[in-house]
């Protein structure tokens, strides 16, 4: 049986992808992108999960043998920051778009064509 974490992560990714492909409002598309990134991060963390082990912090009673895989956690930490940076960038561009076009409907933002 597929673990519930994998299932949930893939579902989040698909929901995000759906929003990006179908929605017309730019902000909803950006929300979709964020949901997708969250799903990917969840997938990454669940790849490193080992059943019954605890957080990979060396402290009393918890040695290296009792920890889950720490590498995906480092990866996710990086990926979260990158995701936030991308979202911030996208939102600032969305503000400029609203100023210049007066709309956030992606079907009306079409000056470049060909």
């Amino acid at each position: 049986m597929i673990s519930v974490y994998y299932f949930g992560a893939i579902t989040l990714i698909l929901i995000g992808l759906y929003a990006v492909l179908v929605k017309k409002n730019l902000l909803k598309i950006l929300i979709g992108l964020s949901i997708m990134e969250t799903g990917v991060n969840l997938l990454l963390v669940s790849v490193g999960y080992v059943a019954g082990k605890s957080a990979p912090i060396l402290s009393e009673g918890i040695g290296p043998a009792q920890a889950v895989d720490p590498i995906p956690q480092a990866l996710v930490l990086t990926a979260i920051v990158i995701g936030v940076a991308t979202t911030a960038m996208a939102l600032s561009v969305a503000i400029i778009l609203h100023e210049k076009y007066g709309t956030l409907n992606v079907e009306e933002i079409r000056r470049l064509r060909g």
């Binding site: 590498i71 991308t86 969305a94 000056r111 060909g114």
Partner: protein, 495 residues
Amino acid sequence: MNGQYASLLIALPLISAFFVPLIKGLGKKAVKYYLVAITALQTGIAAWVFQQVYTSGEPIIVMAGGWKPPVGINLYIGHFAALFVLIVAAVSFMMAVFSIRAVEVEPIDKYAMLFLLLMLGATGMIATGDLFNLFVFMEITSITAYALTAYNKTGEAAEASMKYIILGGIGSSFFLIGVALIYGATGTLNMAHLAQLAGAIDPTVAQVGLALIVFGLAVEAELFPLNAWAPDAYQAAPHPITAMFSAFVVKAGLYAMARLLYIMQAAESWSSVLKMLVIMATLTVFVAEFAALRQRNVKRMIAYSSIAQIGLIALAFALGTQAGVDAGVFHMVNHAIVKALLFLAIGHVAVTLGGTSLEHFEGLGKRMPLTAFAITVGAVAAVGIPLFNVFWSKLRILLATLGAGYTWAAALVLIASVVEAVYYFRLIHTMWFAGEGGRIGEGVAVSVILLVLVALVIVIGVYPDYAWSIAQKAGSDIFNVAQYVKNVPLMGVGA
């Protein structure tokens, strides 16, 4: 000198980007000359690394923090990386000189910072030997690219940037899913270690993971279904940045794709991913050339032509043979030179005359003869006329394609080349035989750079042997994975 100094290639642009706000206190001009100085220094370091790698024949392995791979991250500066790091630095230097005249929109300090980070990201993508590190450098490259696309603060620039952000966001998510799958299957992120373990992965996981990674990188590398952002971004970005996109940002994505493909060649389902890439690449060439045919804006036209050439390189890499990879690398070098030349010249026209639509190019032969000459050489070279550099690489790609048995792909690419000739000769005709006008001053610095690039195009075109031998060495760096693994001093962990 110690090879570990090659890490300066990453460190220098990063540190100097942080110093830009300090330099800004000295005035606007100071930032622009600072940019020129740093890129010149970077070119010097890259030239030293290039000379080291090609004289010794051994790659430089930089180990971060002294941890041996696969525990630590390593930079692998082999024949390919040394060559392309040099191209990245040299093109950046030329564009920094061009920026002195071309970039007038405020704020210049942010432009300089993003410029340096774009150079850093591309250098890192080419030099790294670690899968996740590749992702990080790819994101540095693409986030700076998003910001630089929107730099002009017009509605068009914001629109182009937004398309790029959305596609790039999807692409990087897919790339990360691919990384998660491959990490989950092998437990390593180091490329050399991955190459050793690739044969033992479950074929389905390897296929899906690799396909997702190729799909993610295809956004950066402008392959067919995912390249809709590219012509918009090329048209709306500042002129020096357009040249940088075409000359090396795309190349970094393509190289990463080729490197990962060949790393995984022991996986059982490898050839099906290659077939997918052949189809994508051929469609890229075909669609982009026909789209270029009906453009009235010259910058957009060259942007489509650039995408088509990228498709050609991707086709060469997807053949899965030594001849194809060598030809692809050779075409990457030639295309970087030719497209830097074309975008520089066209940007120069746009800065001087105020636009890039076809009407601005009427009578250019009389008004700006040197620039018109440079565009002509670039256009003739891009079509692939003998005695110009692109002829040799296109010929080799076609021969390699036929050698690998893809006759239909070679035929489609040839048809597309005819279309390419049509729109380039239309441009040349407009420049030399239409319109009138008096001479306009052309600026010394840009003219010198244009002449250097024209000289390179012609020298490689007449004497291709030296450049071809370099491309062969760089190509075997990608193709010969066994040698790659042997060069990286892997610690005995895991498998």
